[in-house]
């Protein structure tokens, strides 16, 4: 056996690298950075310690909010936000995302300090938010914990087969899952322009042709309910009054989704049709309302409050800067009496 016997593998790898370089050159011309020719950085950490930075997340302050400089100051109302990319909004300045805007507006209106601990991280599920609350809730002592979360859980749970009877919800913190040998290579691959093009343009187009289910399994819905209940229990253990928010997408009508919305939906969720996706949001919002009633938890029905306000969204779930401002005003109106009554 000689090296020249396997040169076909070298040629295959070489062509793949050439293809990636070509795609990156094309992407660079359009203002994007690729992996080989430039680096994509998704690290939003300032790298500074809590004393030096104004906004987190930092090593000592793992929240996308204004850093709390003096923790022993006069009694404050502390709002803990369990959410995902819609509240993280990594593309906007920190103080213009709705959790931080809400606390700033409440502070100004009520004349008392209201702090935000914006624990939102893109891709988080309710389970991971529960873990975050368990781990550091007792340190930061939130007064209220708000949960605005649904789609990432939907992405994961929709993969359960229709006839799955697996309603047991394992307690796994995916952010602390063990390292596997292919993680570095996978990270590199997922940062390539080729991956971006395939996952954004090719895969969703194929998925659009597929006959995807229009309903999640009953087991998926049962597990979503378990996750909600766990989060409520965790909030209470941290000393916070839990507040549940129903999820408000731009529309609940599949016919109003743009082609880009549909492809984006399919990119993240290849297990449900777009109509099924929206149907599940309707069904799971009912579960949120039910859990709020059963657990005697304050409910903010954002799905109703934001209905028919498509102008506030940049896609089907994420808000524009104006959307964040409008949402913050709505939340201020909802939270005003809870916060002003808080001792």
């Amino acid at each position: 056996m000689r090296f020249k016997d396997i040169t076909v593998l070298v040629w295959t790898a070489g062509v793949l690298v050439l293809a990636e370089v070509a795609l990156e050159v094309r992407a660079e011309r359009r203002g994007f950075q690729g992996y080989l020719l430039g680096r994509l950085s998704r690290d939003t950490q300032s790298g500074l310690s809590g004393e030096e930075a104004t906004f987190g997340p930092t090593k000592d302050f793992p929240f996308r909010s204004r850093v709390v400089a003096n923790f022993s100051a006069a009694p404050t109302v502390r709002l803990w936000w369990s959410s995902a990319s819609y509240a993280e909004a990594a593309d906007l300045p920190v103080d213009s995302v709705f959790p931080n805007l809400t606390s700033a507006l409440l502070s100004r209106e009520l004349g008392k300090p209201v702090l935000s601990f914006n624990s939102a991280v893109a891709g988080r599920t309710i389970t991971e938010n529960t873990f975050a609350l368990d781990e550091t809730g007792a340190i930061w002592k939130p007064s209220f914990a708000l949960l605005y979360q649904l789609t990432n859980d939907l992405h994961k749970l929709a993969a359960l087969p229709r006839d799955s009877g697996a309603t047991a919800e394992p307690i796994i913190n995916r952010e602390q899952e063990k390292w596997t040998w292919s993680d570095p290579a996978r990270r590199i691959f997922e940062n390539t322009t080729m991956y971006a093009q395939l996952s954004a343009n090719v895969t969703p187009r194929i998925l659009e042709l597929q006959m995807l289910p229009s309903r999640v399994s009953p087991a998926a819905s049962a597990r979503f309910k378990i996750r909600l209940n766990r989060w409520v229990a965790s909030a209470r253990t941290s000393g916070a009054a839990p507040i549940l928010l129903t999820f408000a997408p731009r529309t609940l009508e599949a016919s109003e989704l743009s082609a880009e919305d549909r492809r984006s939906l399919l990119r993240f969720n290849p297990h449900l049709s777009p109509a099924g996706y929206l149907n599940t949001i309707v069904e799971w919002n009912e579960i949120i309302r039910q859990v709020a009633a059963d657990q005697k938890v304050r409910l903010i029905d954002l799905e109703v409050l934001l209905r028919n306000r498509p102008e506030l969204y940049k896609d089907y779930v994420h808000f524009t800067a104006e959307g964040h401002r409008s949402l913050a005003k709505i939340l201020v109106a909802e939270l005003r009496s809870d916060v002003s009554d808080f001792q």
């Binding site: 090296f3 090719v202 895969t203 194929i206 006959m211 289910p213």
Partner: protein, 468 residues
């Protein structure tokens, strides 16, 4: 890791490079492959890699004892020990819960109520256990029969059991075919590498482009809720499933055989255009050949085979196919599948082995009939429960028309059918011509296919036979 994953895309070239470095000497070369094979299996679950090691050690030791032992009575006891250990492990992981549930259902039916959960276990079914168990059993039985010499090199034997291309879903390679190849330096030539690569990509194409797309474009959704679809849709997906399972399983075998060829090893063909069969007897010489020949040599023939009375032969056939069905899974539908094939084989015995009428019309009529009998059996294979089967059949019996299946699904089904029934030489000639093309061109085609597979593979289902 599965063959259509990023991990395998990295793993295979890395193993090949290490193999190139270690190639000249037997021990480093085989050790490298053995380590890579255990790594491959352990990437799924490292704890269950210990189970393969256990099976390997038990059969290595027992076979050596068998080889050295002259007393026939003792030899038989050693063989039974090997059978007990191997089949015992298989039975525990695969069949224990099924038998517990069946027993309790029977008890429940006669008015006795017990809690079966106390007697069930929650261990995962080790991937590939049915395959490697049969593979090691074939070795000990062949040693017992004095058909092959004992392998005294543990590394070679362990590699025979655990070699990664065929470890998790076959083909079930006989010791007589593989061990001699391990005893000599493999021949790795440029031509073999090119033909191995072509086989790998052909297999991946079958799996990713045909099998998975058919599944996603309609099969999975329709089988999950048959009551929501018309009779025409149900019939079409049933045909489509026949091609899905063929392309999925034969695709895996192609990748396994192609990967083995890269390392200089030749594995036997596992599929040979099975839907071209004119009767079920012929079907079982073309479908999953390694399993059917295993069942014939180690079960059917020891039971008596074709010898004895007609009723004895029928019993032998039914028992063999029943166990063949159970091998696929511990569930009632697999048992039913085995019984159906048993009945078909019994019926096939009453038909002539060689047909007097060899006209094209007669040949194709027999092929179409046989194909439909097999398609019915795949329905039994695919349904998730007896209730689902009843729903499916009543849906078909409604004779409602119209279909929500996409034109792409129908085009893919048509293409899969045409390719399968096209003259065998046509595809073989295309492949032969391709592997003689300049290597840079072949590399470009493979790179394009990698990108195509990557685009199609997000959220794709696993190989069907992984569950066995």
């Amino acid at each position: 890791m599965t063959f259509n994953s990023l991990e395998f895309l990295l793993f295979l070239p890395a193993v090949l490079l290490g193999y190139l470095i270690a190639f000249r000497r037997d021990t480093p070369r085989n050790l490298w492959l053995l380590a890579a094979s255990y790594f491959f299996y352990g990437s799924w679950n490292w704890k269950y890699a210990g189970l393969i090691l256990l099976s390997t050690v038990v059969d290595f030791v027992l076979a050596r004892a068998l080889g050295d032992e002259k007393n026939e009575h003792t030899r038989k006891r050693l063989l039974w020990l090997s059978l007990t250990v191997n089949l015992g492990v298989l039975a525990f992981f695969k069949y224990h819960n099924f038998f517990v549930d069946s027993t309790f259902e029977l008890a429940h039916a006669i008015g006795l109520h017990f809690d079966s959960s106390r007697f069930r276990h929650s261990f995962l079914l080790p991937v590939g256990i049915s395959f490697y168990t049969f593979q090691t059993l074939s070795y000990t039985i062949d040693v017992y029969r004095r058909e092959i010499p004992v392998e005294r090199d543990f590394v070679k034997f362990a590699l025979f059991v655990a070699f990664f291309p065929q470890l998790v879903a076959g083909p079930i390679v006989r010791a007589a075919d593989f061990l001699p190849q391990l005893r000599t330096q493999p021949r790795v030539t440029r031509e073999r590498v090119l033909s191995g690569m072509a086989l790998i990509f052909r297999g991946l194409f079958k799996k990713v482009v045909i099998a998975d797309l058919l599944a996603g474009l309609g099969i999975d959704t329709v089988f999950a809720a048959p009551q929501d679809h018309s009779s025409l849709t149900l019939v079409l997906v049933t045909y489509a499933y026949a091609f899905q399972i063929y392309n999925d399983f034969s695709g895996y075998s192609d990748v396994a055989i192609g990967a083995a060829r890269l390392f200089g090893f030749e594995f036997p063909v596992n599929f040979n255009r099975p839907y071209l069969s004119q009767n079920v007897r012929e079907f079982w010489t073309r479908w999953h050949i390694s399993l059917s020949s295993w069942l014939r040599d180690y079960l059917y023939i020891p039971l008596g085979g074709n010898k004895g009375s007609a009723s004895r032969v029928r019993v032998n056939l039914m028992l063999t196919m029943l166990l063949g069905g159970l091998w696929h899974g511990a569930a009632a539908n697999f048992v039913l599948w085995g019984v159906w094939h048993g009945l078909l084989l019994i019926f096939a015995r009453s038909t002539p082995k060689h047909y007097s009428n060899a006209s094209i019309l007669a040949v194709w009529s027999r092929r179409v009939l046989c194909f439909h009998l097999i398609v019915v059996s795949w329905l039994l294979f695919r349904v998730s429960s007896m209730a689902s089967l009843r729903e499916f059949i009543s849906g078909v019996a409604e004779f409602s028309g119209g279909t929500s299946l996409s034109p792409l699904f129908l085009a893919l089904l048509g293409t899969a059918t045409l390719v399968h029934f096209s003259p065998p030489r046509l595809v073989d000639q295309l492949v032969e011509r391709f592997v003689t093309m300049p290597v840079p061109l072949q590399g470009t085609v493979y790179a394009s296919l990698v990108m195509l597979f990557a685009g199609l593979s997000f959220g794709a289902p696993a190989f069907i036979y992984f569950q066995f």
